[in-house]
Subunit: 151 residues, 2 copies
DNA sequence: CCTTTTCGTGGGCAATGACCAACGATAGGC
DNA sequence: GCCTATCGTTGGTCATTGCCCACGAAAAGG
């Protein structure tokens, strides 16, 4: 089982961070896949949750994603009945995207499941460490904020 | 500038972790690219550093990478004169891969550069927090160790 | 009106990563 | 001496990701 990570790599915090983050992301994707969702789907749902009905263009801008790449996401969410898509009466080019009841329920479910995932991911830490860790993590995140959401 | 990450996403530590790790990985790749190296190249160099001369097969097993995908890496490192590749006299099918002087120098350079990267990445943390953070990070890593190296 | 811009959409392209089949050269079992 | 397995290598496939161009519908500015 020579599956050992070379010590010099382990000495690079950036590497370890990236690696742990990668497995976390993979688990999250797997968790969502069981409900037929992708990471982008979840991102869109969360964005719709905390903002007034948005157009696809606005979502794309917010996520720094190409608008054309949003099309499939919207189609999937629409098909699943998680969002509603009405023409904006004020500007009939745009859509107004809103969360449906089912969409909000699905989002809530995903959120609690993500919380569970967080718990297992941070399991090796003590409760106080957990809060300290996430606090530091948030500081790193806001400090190195980059354009986009990149689920 | 509605480039804001939805708060519900920020509530998911796994998400934040993955995101920070992603930008870290990207910066590391960019840093290596300036020296003509890839993340896999660095991984191979570090592996050669802490182990006796290995065959490509052994490296592939250790990294859980397909042997055929290692070929390009070896070619690049060989071309750059960072490794030496001799036939194993005991088994002329295998190669014996060793770090050259230049290879070790390049590895040292990359390591110190990575340390700098770590410093900028963890800049928002106080020195004590930094050590605590990396300690927790290592615990998470060893606990959730997965097969492979996945640069 | 007529021109220009914006919105959603379709198409495709290049880079990436993981994976697999098969080959020549070599070694090992017997 | 044969047969089988292993090593490095070639040359693919397949899915994912980000990016870019062009279109029709609709709006906005003259």
């Amino acid at each position: 089982m020579s599956d050992t990570v070379p010590p010099r790599l382990l000495g690079i915090s950036t590497y370890v961070l990236a690696r742990v983050g990668r497995t976390g992301r993979a688990r999250m994707a797997a968790m969502l896949r069981e409900r037929g969702l992708t990471l982008w789907d979840l991102a869109v749902l969360t964005a719709l949750d905390d903002s007034p009905p948005a157009s696809q263009r606005a979502l794309a801008r917010r996520f720094a994603i190409d608008p054309s790449d949003l099309v499939d996401v919207m189609a999937r969410l629409l098909e699943a009945g998680l969002i509603r898509r009405d023409r904006d009466p004020a500007d009939r080019r745009r859509y107004l995207i809103t969360l449906t009841k089912r969409g909000r329920a699905e989002l809530d479910h995903a959120t609690t499941q993500a919380a569970d995932l967080d718990k297992t991911l941070l399991a090796p830490l003590s409760p106080e460490e957990r809060t300290h860790f996430t606090s530091m993590l948030h500081r790193l995140h806001t400090h190195h904020a980059e354009r986009g959401i990149t689920p």
